[in-house]
Symmetry: C2
Subunit: 345 residues, 2 copies
């Protein structure tokens, strides 16, 4: 059905047909150099006649530059990642690059298999969407071998991973979310954290903790659950926690996805949100505005992180020396919706 | 920060350090040929010492095969696409390929810009996720020039697009969903269709229509809305339709995303689902099981379509002649959840 011979059309054949040099063909196709209108049209006709397509692999070899950037992410079906991917994709396209999306979680050996194949050849830059499961040594080795690496969605602006990164203040996000509940008069606040205590959401949890402490509100370990960062993880843990601690009037959830699970868990238990229980979380994915009730959440700068990360990767790839080791993005911002209300007297 | 020189490590240098031929290095790295354990270890040590990475672009040139397959899709933030992408990605990885994900909707000229760059060089196969906006002429030209093209999620098993495709029976999906409502005693059924009447969801709409006709239930045009295939499109149209036609007892929605919007629209109007209004749709994305109430929907074979499409693309790329022009996947299946109930007397 397909004719592999078609691939063989070379730039020389196109040049011969158009009566120009291969350099002229190349200039026309890349919008470079000075080529008269007539010549340009003759070249484009010859390109069409031969079905010629410039070979990007060959171009990448010649220029020592591959036209793709690789985005390593946990799992594309976590709705945060498509939103981040879309922004990164648009930024990459503005720089004339394609984005190669790699789902590391579903490789038998995590990201390792991808990285070995991708770095330095298929892609000329690696953007790692931090999911708390980084192999820093491996990333450092790739960087040392000449392929720029940038870590994005880094949660701790005070700690450097030793690799260029784009960070947001996760501690502040947790602090702001919790302050909102305290301002509404809540003192019995449970916590659903989408990682281990010192895992990826550790900064968010410490922000929660410090906000309580700043108002001299006690937090006991029994009010916290460390759960899988998923809808189901949030649902199951919320059912468990709300049954075990019926005096809770609010939940701090470290991420929107488990918070959406917690919303449904409350309904399943016959609790009204926000009348019986307030729920606040962090991120502001699109679904947060579509749940019922819509979710109050602290928005993190997803689009800015994606754009800054791609820009940084491009600069590193161009050999720019004057680039920061860490870019700190704008502060998180509370988005008030319908899932939080003043505590009942 | 990065050392571009690192890229220069060649297979010859690795071979020299290990005291073997470049072919042996290549065999070790690719798991081909017979290489003794000791030699293998020496080669791997030399590879590590030199920081050598096989250049996939060079390999692709030599083999006339790029290691990526390109997936062209409408928009990664439509939650159907991440689910399809994940399955296609896993299938591609089983064949040793990477999946290059391309968001065509966000290119100024749709998919055209991508295809010109991708076909025949960056990728050795193009998988087009049908979003109703295909440029068949362009796909045919790419195919004729030697790059295999497969259209997936083709909605009309009776009509060939003239390009190898993987199809499901969208008419049957619409028919099954509507029969379910009829079986529950509904006769006043509105329709929210996520395309123009003869657009991408035309088959689903005709299935709805034919199911009504088979039971001699009248359908009037005023009970249908042709809307944007999105959460908000479904929300807005459902508000409009349910206000205009208060005697409706059920809604047939052609896709889960607008159906989730319709669920919230009903709640906004003070209508209980399913007590006051039943809602059924088509696809069965993950969110359909997480809404409140959970959505009754007709599941289409998403995973099967993704897998079959990648397999077909690989076969075409390998020059296999004995491949079908169209693969018809398993029939859609009703998934009963909580958004549908018998009509109130």
């Amino acid at each position: 059905m397909s004719k592999r011979e078609g691939l063989m059309a070379t730039i020389k054949e196109v040049a011969a047909l158009a009566g120009v040099t291969p350099t002229t063909v190349s200039n026309v196709l890349r919008g470079r150099g000075r080529v008269g209108t007539e010549t340009r049209e003759r070249v484009l006709e010859a390109v069409a006649a031969k079905g010629y397509r410039p070979n990007l692999n060959a171009r990448a070899l010649v220029e020592r530059r591959a036209p793709t950037l690789a985005l390593m992410l946990g799992c594309i079906t976590n709705p945060f990642y498509p939103e981040f991917t879309l922004q990164a994709n648009n930024a990459a396209r503005r720089h004339g690059r394609f984005l190669l999306v790699c789902n590391t979680d579903y490789e038998p050996d995590g990201g390792t298999g991808f990285l070995a194949d991708v770095a330095g050849s298929l892609s000329d830059g690696i953007l790692v969407a931090n999911n708390g499961d980084l192999h820093i040594d491996e990333l450092t080795a790739i960087q040392a071998a000449g392929t720029p690496v940038v870590i994005s969605i880094w949660e701790s602006p005070d700690i450097s991973p030793g690799i260029p990164c784009v960070a947001f203040d996760s501690h502040k996000a947790g602090f702001i979310a919790t302050e909102h509940l305290l301002d509404l008069g809540h003192h019995r606040i449970g916590a659903l954290i989408g990682s281990a205590k010192n895992g990826i959401h550790g900064g968010r949890y410490r922000g929660f903790h410090d906000a309580l402490r700043s108002r001299k509100v006690k937090h006991i370990q029994a009010d916290a659950r460390f759960v899988t960062d998923s809808y189901q993880g949030g649902f199951d843990a919320a059912v468990d926690l709300l049954k075990a601690r019926p005096d809770l009037t609010a939940l701090f959830v470290s991420n929107d996805l488990p918070a959406l699970g917690a919303l449904n868990a409350a309904a399943t238990l016959g609790l009204r949100v926000p009348e019986d229980i307030s729920i606040v979380s962090i991120t502001n994915i699109e679904l947060a505005s579509q749940s019922r009730p819509a979710l109050t959440t602290v928005a993190i700068p997803t689009a800015e992180m994606a754009e800054q990360s791609i820009d940084l990767l491009i600069k590193l790839g161009a050999g720019e020396m004057d680039v920061p080791a860490m870019i700190r993005t704008a502060d998180p911002v509370l988005v008030r919706r319908a899932s939080t209300a003043p505590v009942k007297k």
